[in-house]
Subunit: 340 residues, 3 copies
Amino acid sequence: MVDSRFYTAAGPFSVAELAELSGATLGAGAAAEKLLIDVAPLQTAGPEHLSFLDNRLYLEAFVNSGAGACIVHPDLAARAPGGMAVLLSEGPYKAYALAASAFYPPAKPEPGIAKSAVVAAGVVLGDGCRVEPGAVIGEGVEVGARCWIGANAVIGAGVVLGDDTIVGACASLASCIVGNRVHIYPGARIGQEGFGFAPDPAGHARVPQVGRVIIHDDVEIGANTTIDRGAGPDTVIGRGCRIDNLVQIGHNVELGRGCIIVGQAGISGSTKLGDFVAVGGQGGIAGHLDLGAGARVAGQSGVMRDVAPGATVGGYPAVPIRDWHRQTIAIAKLLKRKTG
Amino acid sequence: MVDSRFYTAAGPFSVAELAELSGATLGAGAAAEKLLIDVAPLQTAGPEHLSFLDNRLYLEAFVNSGAGACIVHPDLAARAPGGMAVLLSEGPYKAYALAASAFYPPAKPEPGIAKSAVVAAGVVLGDGCRVEPGAVIGEGVEVGARCWIGANAVIGAGVVLGDDTIVGACASLASCIVGNRVHIYPGARIGQEGFGFAPDPAGHARVPQVGRVIIHDDVEIGANTTIDRGAGPDTVIGRGCRIDNLVQIGHNVELGRGCIIVGQAGISGSTKLGDFVAVGGQGGIAGHLDLGAGARVAGQSGVMRDVAPGATVGGYPAVPIRDWHRQTIAIAKLLKRKTG
Amino acid sequence: MVDSRFYTAAGPFSVAELAELSGATLGAGAAAEKLLIDVAPLQTAGPEHLSFLDNRLYLEAFVNSGAGACIVHPDLAARAPGGMAVLLSEGPYKAYALAASAFYPPAKPEPGIAKSAVVAAGVVLGDGCRVEPGAVIGEGVEVGARCWIGANAVIGAGVVLGDDTIVGACASLASCIVGNRVHIYPGARIGQEGFGFAPDPAGHARVPQVGRVIIHDDVEIGANTTIDRGAGPDTVIGRGCRIDNLVQIGHNVELGRGCIIVGQAGISGSTKLGDFVAVGGQGGIAGHLDLGAGARVAGQSGVMRDVAPGATVGGYPAVPIRDWHRQTIAIAKLLKRKTG
């Protein structure tokens, strides 16, 4: 199914192996030894493919699927067509993620430093690093083992990278300390000076930005996303955060563990997000706010006040999500009354 | 008028030639043989310039213009000042576009591969390609004729480019198949992994992204725009689409032919746009939606439901545009009543 | 306090010196000769640090601070703890900016042209320029004195840079004239063609973009921000403007002096901003509008009409800010009435 110019599936794996890899349990009568060669969507999967059902919208596709095996919630397993091996999981998407990662494990960098890369004197790279053509690594940089520095990326002086970290093509890093297994996508800008100045009609006055960006382990930072360094304190991205493309993160922002920031969202300076906060696409959060652990912000919302832990907000200005939905309905009704 | 450091006008062209090139017809008494050397706005044009009137806002400027010739709708031609040659067109802006392109045709790349470019062994470039300094072209890449790869651009392994395609400075491409006459602007990011993972407090689980980006002929993709590759299916950009700067397009999105996506708009994963859909600046569209052919989305709107073919929507959440305007008026009235 | 891998404080400076540098006056009894080695926040400052109080929110931190000296408004000076030297200023943040810049002056480029930089034949660089590895400078470019061209940046043919201008890593410039002391952050895209075409179902027709971008002195342009060149007129950025990250500025836009454009804001084609206009984060401004001098646009607002000088607007569509706040309150009340 995949384009061999870009991808090659590992495997094959038996149904039993995939059940184990994905933490699923084999359904009754599943052909445990059947070999599967790839993953595929329900609609196009054949007998040699593994598929999954996570959303009831696709139930009919499941019932009619030709997939050789399928990961599914136990409640729906009885609807499986004859001949399909079912792998039972309470979290089918997570289980699918694990199985698919067996077929397509993260690419490993082929070690080597391209001739046209420029590595400053005295820089020590860990074992197994790959530095692609045109990449520039500045003075005093420390790079861990098995890092992958993409073509034309720029690692500024003094930056520290942990092990197994990937810096995409044309990305640039400065004034930052980056953990292990971090993935920075192409064109991301990390650690430039924040938007700090004292406004003045006679000429806005520069405020030096002398903090850093601290990126903990297992973070992903999307393409062309920008993360400014702190003004004095640091900007901090907690372990396991997933940041999408074109996101803006201002100086002194702190993200807890596992936050999810969807594309084009923006977080203004000095705002703090607790663990596992989620911000929808194009959402905006004003500066100097606190969003408690597990808070959720709807896409395109504008958050102008603190958000309590676990609360979900939406709208502009953002209010509790239920109030926002009711506002929307009330405005629609108002319109009907006025024009009815 | 233009800065000769950057541009040189072709020509001169006679009024008759420009009428033919632009599909306009000569007005009564127009001096068909008069030579024009450039285009210029109504306000600053002289006798040697071609101008155009497309928007009635500028009617007064037209009446007082010193332009030697002007493209104008037949209904307004009688208002032309004496001495101005009129070129009649039902679509003056389109006609102007064609005439102006005669003076300023697309730049042709001067062929050659810069010494500092890095082209992987075995890559075959079509005739007449230009590869600028610092560009990096990976293994297995196929490049058509007369392509122009900008300085420090990165073309990842296996990528295919058609003929006459331009990749701007510092752009990066991966896992994509690109057609003919495509123009990718500086800093665009094409084909990186989409934002796909199974959320989990124990650590969000990676979902491999093994689709591609398919870009059909005659597409333009703006500066620093990001287009993620598909998760399994492909992300598809239809023929002739125009995508502005800083746009985000998620994995598995499909755009029909001729769509217009204005700056900073975002289209979430798996959403499908029919032919000639237009999305205004900063508009946001949720995932898994269908927008029918010819649908239009107002700037900054937040689309959370399917949009019917030909419908225009606006607001947050987006509703039919007429309802949105009425909402705006109703809210203003509500305010007056409460405070009046 | 700072990470010595990235920063080194100048100094020390005496309290009296810092008062003079910052335009503050020494409070009664301040130890004028005391030497300070760095700046620090109120909460963490020690006797050798200078701090500041600008926001009454932090009054308690001030009262309890261990800072050796602090810049503060005269009205609050009496609250200073014993032993703290107070520096009195009507504008403490501006004064702090000046003092902090003494400790951390703008970095000066170490002159030199990297071996892997590619500078076209005939280009003349002013004295003291630094051109980092992989930077590409095209034909006919003019570069003033003490400019700093970052790694892998691309300066297109014919571009002009004044003195003391910085171009960040991986940024690209084309068709632009740039003043003195301009700072362009990494990944910014300046001078590419604007989003100009005549829409047509038979194929959108290209409209040549033959203007420039003119950037006056003392401007800052954020990371991954995009500024398109004019279509025929120029795009103009006035002296001293501060533009944050991921901002989009369309063709023919004109910004007056000292405008402040916060992250992810977008300004559509041909709109004109007077002097000292401020646009909040994610704000959007439609095309062909005029915003008078000193106008202010709230974050995330959508401006669809002209804005008078000095006016503040907010909302979507944007209205006078007071009306927007009242709308928000009225909608909340409407909801209460309907559900109460």
